[in-house]
């Protein structure tokens, strides 16, 4: 089976044949990989080099942790690849949304609806893990909506302020 595997903009052509021999971009490599009991950890020996690899399935991709580095890897077999069209992608325009980066407490909201803001202006002061973080406007615009008040306890990804 032939796979096209992509990390960022780097493509690897990886072939695994019937006898489980592996080639990478045409070069044969000696590979021995086993899963550990915790099921996300794998021991990989590739051409004699030993690695512990942790793997998690993300949305349409594998997140691979290797020596403290994270890689987002997409794997497509040739057939899937041919069938797949060009990905539709969101247009970047429209509203800018300031979300809670994690669960926490809103300390202060120094803006109100209708107020003009510049990129970098503090729109929410947010506390989590005993640290205060200033959340800033990602671009210049006008505050569209303020969804929270000081003292509110919010979940991760809760929408706090929108800028139009």
């Amino acid at each position: 089976m032939k796979y096209i595997t992509t990390i960022n903009d780097q493509e690897f052509t990886i072939e695994i044949n019937q006898d489980n021999q592996v080639t990478v971009n045409g070069q044969p490599v000696e590979v021995d990989m086993h899963q550990m009991l915790d099921t996300t950890m794998h021991s990989l020996i590739i051409n004699g080099q030993s690695y512990d690899v942790r793997m998690k399935e993300g949305t349409g991709a594998y997140v691979v942790e290797l020596k403290g580095h994270l890689f987002e890897v997409t794997v497509a077999d040739e057939r899937t690849r041919r069938l797949a069209g060009i990905k539709s992608s969101f247009s970047a325009g429209g509203e800018a949304i300031i979300k809670a980066p994690m669960p926490g407490v809103v300390v202060e909201v120094p803006v109100s609806p209708g107020q003009p803001v510049e990129a970098g202006d503090v729109v929410v002061i947010f506390e989590s893990m005993k640290m205060q973080n200033e959340l800033k406007a990602p671009r210049t615009g006008q505050v569209h909506a303020v969804r929270v008040s000081p003292g509110d306890r919010v979940d991760q990804n809760a929408i706090l302020v929108t800028i139009s």
């Binding site: 695994i16 099921t39 590739i46 890897v73």
Partner: protein, 500 residues
Amino acid sequence: MLKKILIANRGEIAIRIIRACQELGYEAVAVYSDADRMAPHVRMAHEAYRLGPPPAVDSYLRGDKIIDIARQCGADGIHPGYGFLAENADFAEAVEEAGLTWIGPPPDIIRLMGDKLAARQTMARAGVPLVPGTDQNQDLRDEELFAVAQTVGYPLLVKAAGGGGGKGIRLVRQPEELKDAIRVARREAEAAFGDGRVYLEKYIENARHVEIQLLGDLHGSIIHLGERECSIQRRHQKLVEESPSPAVDDTLREQMGRIAVTAAQAINYASAGTMEFILDQNKNFYFLEMNTRLQVEHPVTEMVTGIDIVKEMLRVASGRKLRYTQADVQQKGWAIECRILAEDPANDFMPSIGRIIGLTTPTGPGVRVDSGMYFGVEVTPYYDSMLGKLIVRGDSRGEAILRMRRALEEFRITGISTTVPLHLQLMNSARFQAGQFDVTFLERNFQFNQTPPGELAQVAAVAATIVAHRRNREAILLHQSQPSPWRLYGRREALDRRLR
């Protein structure tokens, strides 16, 4: 004599204290919030009692409830650890009024040193050099601070009077930044200590943060255990500590130690405590603040002096004399501590939450881990982000750095982001290795490299492709019912062999 100690804390420091209790033959009582029901401090203690819901104000800050529990379960002493109620003089007083032993310095010293302005005045009287700054011990209004700033000169620091630990500090380089900095510092100080008072201090460029560990008993003996180097900081929070300091020689150590001991004697200090100093490039040192409690970084001192600070705290609290004189204290070798935080070094140290689904802890020669982590723990946003500490000792600073690098490579934490990769890169940086750094080093002169080495990408690609390939095969070969993780694992193993 103490027999049963309640530990009014959580995480690694609660575990540290439980270990000391067990090694002294005392019983240890844990308290916990609902978020910590399965935490190791609860499971390692002899007894454990619930405090309340996860937020600290509803649990670990409930001094009233903690004292009630201590009385009901027959504890005779309370150790506060650090943070939470450790520097709360009212709580310490309430503990003593309840007839329990407070394992820490006398409450009036906590109160005196907790007010950073009062502490400055007291230390000045005891002959300790101060950083130039606000001298009045009173709540200055913004306008008064603007006036003082002109005498102090720029750059300067706006600091919270109500408490320490890096909270409510702002650096001001230009007069026009002062107003905003005071506002932000007051806000943070109000939130952290319920006390919006701030004061000003001259900012000393290229300074190091060096502190002296003190230990005193109730019979008037006070000794120091040498210095700790704590200049590797971000956001005024320590990240790496070591003992000794590469910037301190025997003469300076003796001088700083003597001044710290004299000042501690002047206020009748007892128990463990730390005097923090700013050390400038010309080896002048200035009092910063005194921490009237056990400190996060106490293990580096333990590793080089061989003195168990927590056990000594417990011993002296029950009225026993210090087992050491100043002449007994010797620094041997070199120790380094890395704080393992649930923060993402690749993303401006943004706190990271989630479940730890994989955990391998380093051990072996010269390695110590003080940690509250366990397999399956859910890291929540309720408490501070420190998960644990990795401490190593070597014969020399070089051996300690190499050992730390080895131990960091063994440390595998998955499910959340941690500072482990940052520490690894730090240990490999030439300036850290040379000992040439000050408190600004980490934020100004150190670049965290986020691009992984190229050859690793191919390894990651191969690993993911094999998993995808096996997944395809499994879908054909495996039946649907999955009776137990163990059987599933066995089946996968067998399949791995078949598919190899």
